[in-house]
Amino acid sequence: MHNHPIETAAVAAPQLSDSGIALRLQTIAKHYGQRQVLHDINLEIKPGEFVAIVGRSGCGKSTLLRLVAGLEAYQAGAILYDGVAEDRRHDTRIMFQDSRLLPWKRVIDNVLLGLGPDAFPLAQSVLNEVGLADRAHDWPARLSGGQRQRVALARALAHQPRLLLLDEPLGALDALTRIEMHTLIERLWREHGFTALLVTHDVTEAVALADRIVLIDEGCITLNLPVPLPRPRERGKEFAALEEHVLRQVLKQNHYPQPLELTADPLWPPAGQVRWAI
């Protein structure tokens, strides 16, 4: 994955989409029956921006993503894609926490889902990009969890989305595989230029990947924080400080266990602190 030729020659990569979508959420409100899940959500995302949404469990992160994907209706407000309100954008793709590969289709046919047979070379090239070209003819049941998520990523990319929605795509993976996937997702995002909206429980993941971190609490956006760190990001002091800041906001408290003090030189925190799960 790391010595992939495309990584060093990003310019030569196939430019699959001209650029990302500009996304604008205006005073969105959503409730299920009596339960108000989201209210007065205002968010503006620039083309090609990478935005991470964090928040406690049940705060409505997935719901927000599903609204943007057009999988669910909302009660008030508007979602504008490139300035236009639409029910469902054809150039938006979503990636779920479980890979949702069709078990009865081989890997390559999963990637081809919804595309014509003439998309075969494209499907092969995205499989190659996620490093699974040699597994094209395997059944999904034969893949590991991380490999399945990579296929799901390839399937999303094969549609050349201009907006990629990721709902905790790495939630079920181990810490090491996560770090590999971060590198992969960041590289593909830079090459393809799509706008990315990532829902995650993992503050480290948000700080590592996002241009901006949005915190949802009790149905509202309570934090909208740019991440000014240069890419590729190293886990240095600034990284840790940002992480701590976001985590404090999420937990809404000033007293919490203080593992950060333990790392005198947190260039690479000890294994126990590699990630911060909320």
């Binding site: 994907a69 057009g70 793709r93 479980d98 949702r100 009865w104 081989r106 889902l113 919804g114 049941a141």
Partner: protein, 258 residues
Amino acid sequence: MASPSLPRWQRLTPWLPPLALLILWQVLAQTGFISVRILPSPASVAQAAWELTLSGELPYHVLVSTQRALLGFAIGGGAGLLLGLATGSFRQLETLLDTSLQMLRNIPPLALIPLVILWFGIDEGAKLFIVSIGVFFPLYLNTFHGIRSVDPGLIEMAKSYGLSRWALYREVILPGALSSILVGVRFSLGLMWVLLIVAETISANAGIGYMTMNAREFLRTDVVLVGILVYALLGKLADLIARALERFWLRWHPAYQS
């Protein structure tokens, strides 16, 4: 599951009990311990089978029975499959039909025999009707259940990937329901022979059931046994075919990967 790495003699172990039984049976019959009227020896059963085959009688009856079985399976199973697909896919049809079908399901098909004889006489129609009704329900129920239990996450995913209604059905819903449908097929194939045996024994002028009933009148116990064994073989054959279909269509499934 038997692993292919077992030594040859161990793979033969399941065949030892029937073989032993066969030998015991032959010995008992030959020594006159049981009367040949009650149970003729295996050798004479084999002899009878051979003669019936040579005379063309056995192949003829097997052919007639197989045709009936398959036709009944095609009619009843086909209807069950189509109706299951329909009620599984459309809520309105389910509310309209499902209660009635669940009610009918509780009637054993064999309980209909007197009525069927009144309706169809002892014609072909009677036997086809019994078999069709019997195989209808396993296929209907399993198809319905299969469609309803397709992972909604996969359906949502496919919709969001721009699949049209028909493509969604072909690529997601049908393959997702297939393992359940095949369970229905296996059940139906088992029932198919049972029902046909009963139907042919009651009234027929050809077929394995007719052959055995006829032999009973002439006290040809060996021929009766030939008929019973042929039924067993045909049942086993149907099951093997169903399993082969499962292995092929569900080859993606971890349970079917060697």
